[in-house]
Amino acid sequence: MLKKFPDDSIGLVAPQAIEFTEPLSLACGRTLNQYTLMVETYGELNTDKSNAILICHALSGHHHAAGYYEGDSKPGWWDSAIGPGKAIDTDKFFVVSLNNLGGCHGSSGPNQTDPQTGKPYGPDFPLMTVKDWVISQARLADHLGIVQWAAVIGGSLGGMQAMQWAITYPGRLRHCMVIAAAPKLSAQNIAFNEVARQAISKDPNFYDGRYYDHNVVPKTGLMLARMVGHITYLSDDGMREKFGREMSAGKLMFDFNPQFEVESYLQYQGERFSTIFDANTYLLMTKALDYFDPASEFNHDLAQALEHVTAKFMLIAFTTDWRFSPERSREILDALVEAGKEVSYTEVDSPQGHDAFLIPIPRYMEIFNAYMSRIAADLPIEQHGDIETREKESSHAR
């Protein structure tokens, strides 16, 4: 365990489970009568509740975005961007991060107990759409008393949620940051997702998604799914740089065991992932990705879908990202420009492929910081009294 956390870390954090009892109607036609959302918050909500930022996670993400858990040596998945003095500055903003419905980290999902049956939901958990998530996140905002987010921010699938927020609840966010995302998946994207799903569902330990009953997990399938996914997160250049054709034994072994570094790396990543992630959640998340297409409700015209948007957009793409390439972000850009919306777009040169959105690349952080300072400048100026009271309270807490 770390004795002392880095100065720019939010430090020790703990999640909270929030119960919702108002039924939630879903796009698939089914209803969740009650559900739980696992949530973490960082920083303090100001008196007029204007400094809240929602973080939306990507395919394998969860509520633990920043800070450390008791006993952990690694921080949350976006600790590089969230913390005191970091791009998403917890001294200025109240940051909310949740595990989406259907996830496997404590929010209602396939691996959680269905209160109606007392057994895990398993494959009976309804398929979720990005819009379903956004509606559930709006309920969370209501619960926290947040009428309007200062910003909704997300990368990849998280960026799609941010975009959906701007479309579904135009009045409830002032800024929308969409990083390494796309307005919808391409046939190639869906194809990769289908390979992942087939790997999982063809695993003999999958048992049609009811593996919990058999006390097994479809480990091989999940591992393969992650391996193929992982390849799409990296770039050809990045892989060449990182692994090249390096061999662990230094020579050809003339057998089928992993010899090239890239093979061992992928196996290790797949292996690790298969022990911490749920296969049914993986299936559900990839389907949510495949189904995302906000323009489909507006004659397949993205500009029309964005017509009522009032949030200001910041779009960031990465040059070697081929999962959601810069061209895909530019589709969103062109639609926003056509609809006459406020938008800025930058393309960060980086060899890390899609993964770049999680890496604190200097140019990326420079843009992130610049845009966050603009979001901070849009915050209403607080009364002196409030700040003094808050300082007194926090010094007490210390």
Partner: protein, 196 residues
């Protein structure tokens, strides 16, 4: 604001859609948004300028203009502006075509290579002009397509481009009455407002 920007500022109508190609740190757009309530975007590919635009609350799009503006629809802007960047383009003629396709009106400013100082430099010294205003040497200059006012106007004739206004300023961006007497000799920077 620079004098050429002040002139442009006067030519832009309130509440219109404006695209600024090579918008720099976004100063002109900021003024136009604040004072004319225009709806504007800047296009830029210099990192420091892009960061400055973001900080200045100016919509900025990272893009290499030389690679074309095909994603922008016909007549989708009331005005398309390009200040001091035409000479940097690989194909200024095609860029002007693109500007006129996207915008109902275009405003272009560029340095006049026909100014007496440039002519003197080349004529008497026999070398490519280097001055405080055009401070690059021939081998490292980003200014690869210099032209004179006369050249530009000839291009307008060839392409059936209609010149709505033309103003000339000196290198301190001051407007002086005598530059209009013989603009191609005495004017250093031209500001053209053109349309199809």
């Amino acid at each position: 604001m620079r004098a050429d920007q002040e002139i442009i500022h006067e030519w832009i109508k309130p509440d219109t859609r404006v695209l600024d190609l090579g918008c720099g740190d976004g100063e002109l757009l900021r003024h136009l948004v604040d004072n004319k309530q225009v709806h504007g975007y800047g296009i830029e590919n210099n990192h420091d300028h892009i960061t400055a635009c973001i900080k200045n609350n100016v919509n900025v799009i990272e893009k290499d203009i030389d690679k074309g503006l095909a994603s922008i629809k016909d007549n989708s802007f009331d005005s398309v502006i390009m200040t001091q960047a035409l000479q940097v383009m690989h194909r200024p003629d095609l860029i002007v075509d693109e500007m006129l396709r996207i915008g109902k009106e275009c405003i272009v400013t560029f340095p006049n290579f026909g100014h007496w100082r440039a002519r003197g430099y080349l004529g008497f010294r026999g070398q490519m002009p280097v001055s405080k205003f055009l401070s690059y040497s021939w081998y490292d200059t980003p200014n690869i397509h210099f032209c004179t006012f006369k050249d530009f106007e000839q291009l307008c004739v060839q392409k059936n481009i209609h010149i709505l206004n033309r103003t000339v300023v000196d290198n301190e961006h001051q407007h002086r009455w005598w530059t209009n007497l013989w603009p191609n000799m005495l004017g250093e920077i031209a500001i053209y407002r053109i349309t199809r």
